[in-house]
Every structure is written in structure tokens, then in C-alpha cells.
Symmetry: C2
Amino acid sequence: MLSISNRGKDMPASPIRKLVPFAEAAKKRGTKVYHLNIGQPDIETPKMVLDAVRNSDFKVLEYSHSAGNESYRRKLVGYYESVGIHVNHQQIIITTGGSEAILFGFMACLDAGDEVIIPEPFYANYNGFAVAAGVKVVPITSQIENGFALPPIEAFEAKITAKTKAIVICNPNNPTGYLYSAQEMEQLKAIILKHNLYLFSDEAYREFCYDGVNTSAMHLQGVDDHVVIMDTISKRYSACGGRIGALITKNQAVLDAAMKFAQARLSPPSFAQIAGEAAIDLPTNYFDTTKAEYKSRRDIIVQRLNAMDGVFCPNPGGAFYAIAKLPIDDADMFCQWLLEEFSYNQVTVMLAPATGFYSTPGLGKQEVRLAYVLNKTDIDAAMDCLEAALKAYPRKTN
Amino acid sequence: MLSISNRGKDMPASPIRKLVPFAEAAKKRGTKVYHLNIGQPDIETPKMVLDAVRNSDFKVLEYSHSAGNESYRRKLVGYYESVGIHVNHQQIIITTGGSEAILFGFMACLDAGDEVIIPEPFYANYNGFAVAAGVKVVPITSQIENGFALPPIEAFEAKITAKTKAIVICNPNNPTGYLYSAQEMEQLKAIILKHNLYLFSDEAYREFCYDGVNTSAMHLQGVDDHVVIMDTISKRYSACGGRIGALITKNQAVLDAAMKFAQARLSPPSFAQIAGEAAIDLPTNYFDTTKAEYKSRRDIIVQRLNAMDGVFCPNPGGAFYAIAKLPIDDADMFCQWLLEEFSYNQVTVMLAPATGFYSTPGLGKQEVRLAYVLNKTDIDAAMDCLEAALKAYPRKTN
């Protein structure tokens, strides 16, 4: 009998996917499902970005440079400059989505058996890339009570072993929405310098900070060789399907190694590089509008959640996610119940159980992640529905 | 001091890339360089394929399904049916280029330390994906004297160990152009059945067979669980930059495992899936024209090469590559010399030293790969140049 690989067995399934059949069944029954479960924004991709692709006139859809089109990388230098990140175009490798930047970073810096520390709850797919790379994820739990702030330095030091090679952060954070302060970033700098670690910084949501400013890992001084940024245009320009991201580092050895992985897969997608390059010419006030929209959605969803009996939702400083603690027995069962058994005015809501974002077993059982990627009217309707659901749920804890 | 990973060190650099600076320098000196070194076709991407993207009218560039758009996969079923491959849409996972199909296949079926047997010379990037997956490549040498036919069954059996999990073939072959016969495919079937191995079959050049017919690994009977096809639209429709491929298997466990890797990277590129889907509606005679063009190019390049003193080039049955044995000391040095020191009527030619396609050290030192991806006039001019170069080269062996 042929068997699949152990890593194929160990590979975690998407924590959200198991609920998809229940959502599909609900829709077949005529129930409208509000999707607050995934980070697919409803914000339109800027027309000029799509038009750049639609108005292209090349005759052959050719491979690009393995690091991405030089014209795009050169323009990105200006974009990064505008957010205080000073790099040259040779320090940028265009990747197929932020996903591939994570994979290349892990592959270039980490060997099988190496350990990476990640504050949990964390973006579930880090697990997947860790399994692909044979790397062990060591979680440090952040607490909903303090809004998922960076755990204290002692918590990191307690987890560091001879095999620890890196700390992974996502800032602003998916799934918590937490925005690390400049002081917290300095704490991380102290740890990576003291223990000679890489700092992988996923900055996919850089533009979406509502209270306070974003501190990039590349704003830190004196850690150029330690920092690897994973970036993407997916959220920045509502262009998730483009699959265009970037790995950025000033560490030449990491760049050289990552380039070899980039060459093996030939090139990132050509169409969407045109879109990415066009996006850099968006008016500087483009993010103002989008950010204001997300902020007002955040304000509504957090206010609505905290007004519900027994619900606690810390106010996220960035990204477009919030984690709420609900008065329920089990988030996985509750989210399934919402789709399978509940409806309110022919409507229900799909949420992501937070258990999928924790690596420590048993954590997050009362928590759900909500992505505020719907307009305010829909968010309000979804919150009406959730409020009614919490009243009707038979296995409440208060 | 921070160090990169061992796999980052072990990762092979592109065997062609080291020559790029010499090509660039030649161009700066005013020398025209004929690129026969890479498989980037000059054939135009069909206009209706590009127009499908250009005429798209969606407002949000969304993630697709992790396995690719269902509409695309359903249409692909018809395409595969037309080439005698009977699968349903759930047995197809759309990948980011054929590259990602190779990666997912390796990741889903193989663990670190496992061995795969590959007839050499082989597509150099298999090495890269093997390093990424921690898999050991065991080469079996095929011989230029018999046109790079499949090595005898005994050669495979001599290499099989307890760790052997798969055989990888590319058919028609890159870099040799060899087209495996139905009988050779049956030989492979016997081996994989006897030793319980996977057969990874890279069929990127399926449409381009000039002498004889293509036998897909999925034409073999009774090995459904063993066969994993890696496919791509890159060469089929001259759409390399789209980065759309597919992993196809009837082995449900492999599909399930590969889907988890697919979910971790979210989705394949959305724009080019539109292109891929449109391509299925090309008129059935589309390939006739392209194939006739490649065949006539092959006929010219092989005839010209064999007419040169001391040169031997077997006639490739498919794809758009040929390997030629030249009367030279060292193909790497010769290819560099062509770019660095030689020109003929202000022209030179860039070739790929075949050493990069062999895994056994020392092999291929007198061989080069030529991709016939230029029009016939250019191929003739490139051959004039190569012929003159061979006369002028100071380190000839005959």
C-alpha cells in the first residue's frame, strides 16, 4: 500500500474549512450567511489597478525575472521609503503572495528541527509553512484580557533553546488586530540581539492602524541582518487574488538563499505584477478612505460585541480582525451550530473559531475571530444575528 | 553570527543564471545575443486567452478556491478527456505554475530522507524542489548515443532502496526532447508496481510530439494510486508568466494532503486562471499550427547541428529542446566564452551547458541544451554563429 508523507499527515487542515460544508448547506436551505470568517475584503480593488492589467498590450505572457520585474521593484523602493523602510530594489524579492514570502523566509533561514517562537493566537497558516519546512512552532500565549499585547520578555526567554532560530510576528496582528507599540518592538529587538535570532515580521496590514502608528521591524536600528519582512498587496489594495507579495531583507546571505528558491519556481505571476506596480501610483489619500471605512467598521463591531451579555472584545488597534470571548462552551461547536441549527430572520453568521489560531491545545475555546470585511449595514445585521444566537444557544456558560 | 539554513546553502543556483552577467555584458558591447538557453517561447500567447483577462469586469480581485476556480477545473476535465486522461474536477488541483505542482507532489508524498529516482539529464529545478523537501535525488543516466531513451529496467532496480518512494519523469523530456514510447511507459509501470512507488509525471510538453504519440502516465492501466501528474499551461499556450499549472491524481490520500498545502498558500493566481479557462475554448487546430512551427524549427536546428564538424545531436521526438554533443573541452567554459570572447557578425549565441542537467558530477561536460524557441531565420543565424564559434574555439577536442 502506498502511503503519503508524514508531513502530509501532519499538515494542519484549514481551521475554517471544516465549517464550509455547513455554510453551503445553510445557503441551500435559503439562509443568508454573513461571512465574518475570512479576511477577504469587500472593498473594491482600485479601478486603475485592475485597468493597468486590462489595458496591457503585450503579445507573449512571459516569465518575469525570478525576483519580479525590476521596474516594479524599483518603484516599490519609493513605496517603502514612504513608510519609513529604506531598502534598495535588490533587497526586495517579489513573491507569489505573502504566503510564498513566509515559505522562502523559513526555507532560507531554518532547517528541519529548528524552532520558531510565535505569540499565539497566530495566523494559522504559519503552522502549514512550518510543517512544510519541518520547523517546530513554539507558541507563547498572549492574553485577551490585555488585548493580546506582546507577552513579557521573560516569557520569550523561558522558551528559547539551542534550536530557537527566529521569532515570528504579525503586526498589526492577524487574528487579534493588536498593534505592537514602538516599545514592544524595542523589546523584541533586545531579544533577537541577545539570542541571535531572526525576526520574521509579517506586515500585511501595515496601512490599517487606527490607534497609534505602525512600527515596522525595519524601523529598528542595528538589526539589519536579523529582520526579514513578509509583505503582500492582498490587503493593502484589496487584491488578494493577485498573489503578489514580497520578501524584504538587508541580509545578503538570506537574499541569496531566497533567490535560489525563487529561481526554482521561475517567477511570480506576471499579470498581477502589473497591478502591483500600478498601485504604487494611487493618490496618497487612497488609504485614508479605506482606513476610515475599516475604522468605522471596527468601532461598530467592537461596540456591538461588548454590548452583548457576557461578551468581551478588546479594541484592536489595526488590521481588520477582532477576537471576542463569548459566553459559550466551545467555539467550534458554536460556530457549527450557527450554520447548522440557527437562523434569525433567515440570516446567520459564519465566524472563525479561535481554537485554530492557538497552537497550545485547549486554548481559545470560548473565542472567535471576526473579520470586519463587510459594510456597516451588514455588520450591524450580523451582530443582531449573533446577539440573538447567544440568547438562543443552549450550551451557554453564563 | 546569524547563519542561513543548510538547505539554503545546499539549494542549487540556477545553472543558467551564472552566465547572465556575461550575456548582459555582451549586449552592452553591442553584440546581439540569440537566446537558445531558456524555454521561453517566442510564440504569441493566443489573443483570445489574453483578451479573456483584459475583458474581465470583476470589481474585487478575490482569492479563488484553494484548488482553483471550480468552473476552470470543470472545463479542464474536458481538455484532459481530449488527450485521453479521464479525471473529474475534484482530482485536479490548480497550482501556481507546474513548479508548485512538483512541490505539492513532493511534499504530500515524500518525507525528508526519502529517495526519488530521476533519469538524467533532467530539468534542473527538480533538484531545487528536492532540496526544499529534504528529498534525495538518485539519478540514472540516460545516454546521448541512443537519444536519451529510458534506461533499462535493471538500471532502475539497481538503484532502488528501502527509501525509494518515487520515480520522476518528464515526457516529452526537458532537457533532452526525448519522447517515451508506450513500451517504455509500460516498463515504468512494471517497476512502480513491483516496488510500490509513486510515478511523478511532468507532462508540460504533452502537445509537442513530432514523431510518435504521447503516452501519459494516466494512460497506464491499474496504477491509479501511483500516478501524480504535474502539468502547466506555460508551454501549451505560451503563457509562462501566468503561473498556472495543475496537480492531477486519482489517489485520494494524496489529493487530501496536497489540498492542505494548497490551503496554506490560499489560492493560485486569479487573473491567469481566467486565461487558462479561456484557452480551453481555443479551436482544436490551435496546436496544429504551433506544433508544425516547432517541428520545422527542430528539423532545422538538428540538421544544422549534425552538419557541423564533430557535433552530434539526436533527433528529439518532442518538447522544444535538443541536447548536442560538441567537440569542446568544457561546456560551461565554452558557453561563457561564446558570450565573453566570441562574436560573429556582431552576433553571439547563449546556450545552456548540459552539466546543470546532470546530477552525477562530471557528466555532460561536452553537451549543451538548445531551446528552439526562436523563429527559423534566427535559428539559422544562431547556427551560423555556433558553427563559426566551433571553428574558432581554442580548446577543441577534435
